[in-house]
């Protein structure tokens, strides 16, 4: 191990590695670069959501280490990093989806508009109405397209009568860029759509609840390039109204859609910067290795 490290100039010595407290298993030698806090600019002035000292544990195993990060208002923040680096786990911290996993434990201060989202007063159900989520695999409910979009609105009582609900469904489908394709088939099952359409249906469903933040967990990884392009355009339009955090494996996608990019590595936040800077002039060696495709 030390041989490999010594061949890389400017790397920390093997001694410092042995002193580092946590050594995740199954690591590869290229990853054994010490991460001393986050470089770049994790904090912004107009933060919509922010985390301080975020630590997440699955049982005894720690998945996220001391992450400090802000998500600015009406910006798209991309999270990149190799598989298992904790970016999806971090995303699920932000709307308390990790609460549904019994062995998962979240520490640290997390706020939405300055309110503590893990506070005693906060109901995760209400929080999730404000912080919506779109998943990696399109997961429309086994209901009609209309009912899929109307689902959240009905739960939260956002429409007082049928015509208001109709308008809301139509508006959400228009925003998600799906209305033209499905306007005659609103009563057909949502699972009958193509993969890209299903994902846009899921976005429409999330928008219909009128959230403030939308979390997207690899929303295009199951889609072809054309459907991906449609969804990326959609994100660009959505950022005027919503704050978006997106986890992606595609660095091109991160570069295309986001304003800031965060690079996660083995549960630590390595670098956060303006997207342009991350992809043209990364500060950290690990970030550079990753975006240049040397590993990951």
């Amino acid at each position: 191990m030390s041989d490999i490290l010594n061949t890389v100039p400017g790397m920390p010595s093997a001694d410092s590695l042995e002193r580092s407290e946590v050594k995740p298993e199954n690591h590869r030698s290229e990853f054994d670069v010490e991460i001393n806090g986050t470089v770049g600019k994790p904090f912004v002035d107009n933060a919509k959501m922010s985390s301080r000292n975020c630590n997440v544990f699955y049982g005894d195993k720690q998945a996220i280490f001391d992450v400090d990060l802000d998500i600015g208002n009406n910006e798209i923040l991309a999270m990149i990093g190799p598989s298992g680096c904790g970016k999806s786990t971090y995303l699920r911290v932000l709307n308390r989806m990790n609460d549904t996993i019994p062995i998962c434990r979240v520490e640290g201060e997390h706020t939405l508009d300055g309110e503590d989202i893990y506070g005693k007063k906060t109901d995760p159900v209400l929080l999730r109405a404000r912080v919506g989520m779109v998943f990696q695999k399109p997961n429309p409910f086994p209901k009609s397209i209309y009912d899929n979009v109307a689902y959240g609105a009905r739960l939260h009582g956002l429409a007082s009568n049928r015509s208001e609900l109709d308008d809301l469904v139509e508006a959400s489908l228009i925003k998600a860029g799906l209305f033209k394709e499905v306007k005659d088939d609103l009563q057909k099952p949502g699972t009958g759509l193509s993969g890209g359409q299903q994902q846009r249906l899921c976005i429409a469903r999330a928008i219909a609840v009128d959230p403030e933040v939308i979390l997207m967990d690899e929303p295009t990884s199951a889609l072809d390039p054309i459907a991906t392009a449609t969804i990326e355009e959609l994100m660009d339009e959505l950022k005027s109204k919503y704050t978006i955090a997106i986890v992606t494996h595609s660095m091109q996608q991160a570069a295309r859609v986001s304003q800031r990019t965060a690079y996660f590595h083995l549960g630590k936040l390595v670098e956060v910067n303006e997207t342009d800077k991350v992809f043209t002039n990364p500060e950290h060696q690990l970030t550079e290795n990753y975006i240049t495709g040397r590993f990951g």
């Binding site: 919506g132 695999k137 086994p142 209901k143």
Partner: protein, 462 residues
């Protein structure tokens, strides 16, 4: 050689031919680039040789065993004197039986009648020849088959395709046995029912409201006029099954939801098998539980609040039957609810739905086909249930939908019609088949409805 020995020899021969074929295929192949140039793997050649050795021999063995006796018997009869051959069929049968016994007991010499003595020893001789011939022919055919297949083996021979075709035919035969048994049962019930409907008009059976299947031998006896109106029975069946389902569906569904969505792993590991034990209790045990515990309890309870409850009531039977079929609902529903993808739950939670909203609006609809399947399985179980009803609901065929009275069901009446010594040509016994046919049609309809529901919702469920 007795048949068992032939079979054992044949099996040994098949094992031998398997190895022979395998060896032969390796011997005739050549090795190119480390691979044998055989079309199929060597063991397929082994199976092929075994098939050639086995199948014709087994077929001959079966046919021989099936027809041996009738051929030998007719040969024996043809040697009898003219006068004996022209006897009636029955007395000829007696003679043949006598000859067989003589031959099998080996006491031919004790027989006084020289003709019979002669015939019996002829019979014995023929059987001996037949046995020997069977042994020789079966084993020779097996050997010939083996040699033939062995000579066929060369690297181009498509042994795998041959073997796979034979196995496919074997599987088709297995499926046919199940299908033919069903068809056979249906037809036997159908033909007996047709005989019943010759005696009793179908309209009386289907629309009559009085069930009293008493027929008499002499026309001047009391109760000589049997009446076969099946409506009270079907109403009774429906009543008890409905009570059972009203109990079982909510209880089963709720426990399934608890087990799959709320229970911790340790509770689930303990509770699920315990619930399933309910299905393993013999129905007769449920029966005396119903008759000795539940029915008296209901009667006392009814008295205390001023209701008259019969000591054998539909309610008691239905309640206990409901408990009995809970596992059908809960276990199947639990399986399908657990099979709903986590992505569905995440999607719902991710939009700010509570757990109960998620269960009611996403998980139950997604699992509906399986839940309906479980309920229909429980329903057909309830409709077919006999023992509990015999013990707890009585035998009186009263046309009522009051669950506090005694009723009877179709299956119970079938049991009472067919137990004891019966003549199988009176309408009384034949009525059982008509009732069976009725039940069959009802369960068939239930299954069709179930399939329809499942198909309707399946396409929505990823």
């Amino acid at each position: 050689m007795p048949t068992q020995t032939i079979i054992i020899t044949l099996i040994a021969l098949l094992i031998f031919s398997y190895f022979l074929g395998q060896k032969r295929s390796i011997a005739v192949s050549s090795i190119n680039n480390g691979r044998r140039d055989l079309h199929s793997r060597p063991h397929y050649y082994g199976y092929m040789v075994a098939i050639w050795a086995g199948i014709p021999a087994v077929l001959i063995l079966l046919l021989w065993t099936a027809f041996n006796n009738s051929i030998v018997t007719s040969l024996t009869i043809s040697t009898l004197p003219e006068s004996m051959q022209t006897q009636s069929k029955d007395s000829l049968g007696l003679v043949v039986n006598e000859l067989r016994n003589l031959a099998d007991s080996g006491q031919i010499a004790d027989e006084a009648d020289p003709i019979k003595r002669e015939a019996a020893s002829h019979y014995q001789r023929l059987q001996g020849i037949s046995k020997l011939a069977k042994t020789v022919i079966v084993l020779v055919v097996a050997l010939l088959g083996m040699i033939y297949a062995w000579r066929l083996i060369n690297p181009e021979l498509r042994a795998r395709n041959v073997v796979e075709k034979v196995i496919r035919v074997a599987m088709i035969l297995c499926a046919c046995i199940a299908i033919l048994s069903t068809v056979g049962i249906v037809f036997s019930v159908l033909f007996e029912s047709i005989r019943f409907f010759e005696a009793v008009p179908p309209s009386d059976f289907l629309f009559g409201t009085k069930w009293s299947p008493q027929t008499s031998i002499r026309s001047d006896q009391v109760g000589s006029s049997g009446s076969f109106g099946a409506i009270p029975l079907f109403v009774g069946t429906l009543l008890i099954s409905t009570i059972a389902l009203v109990i079982a569906v909510p209880l089963g569904l709720m426990s399934a939801i608890y087990l799959s969505e709320y229970a911790s792993k340790s509770v689930r590991a303990f509770a699920k098998p315990t619930l399933e034990i309910l299905a393993g209790i013999p129905t007769v045990v449920y029966g005396f539980f119903a008759a000795l515990t539940v029915a008296p309890f209901l009667r006392d309870l009814g008295e205390s609040i001023g209701l008259s409850v019969a000591s054998e009531s539909a309610l008691a039977a239905g309640l206990v039957m409901g408990i009995m079929i809970i596992p059908f609902v809960s276990s199947l529903s639990d399986d399908v609810i657990s099979a709903v993808p986590q992505a569905m739950r995440d999607g719902s939670y991710g939009m700010g739905a509570t757990k109960s909203e998620t269960i009611r609006q996403v998980i139950i609809p997604a699992a509906l086909p399986g839940i309906v399947g479980g309920i229909l399985l429980a329903a057909s179980r309830a409709i077919g249930e006999t023992m509990i009803v015999v013990m707890a609901a009585g035998l009186s065929a009263k046309l009522t939908i009051n669950p506090l009275e005694a009723v009877t069901t179709v299956t119970v009446q079938i049991v009472t019609l067919l137990t004891g010594d019966q003549e199988f040509d009176s309408p009384k016994t034949l009525a059982a088949f008509a009732l069976g046919l009725g039940l069959f049609v009802i369960t068939l309809l239930l299954n069709i409805v179930a399939l329809h529901i499942i198909r309707k919702y399946r396409e929505q469920y990823e």
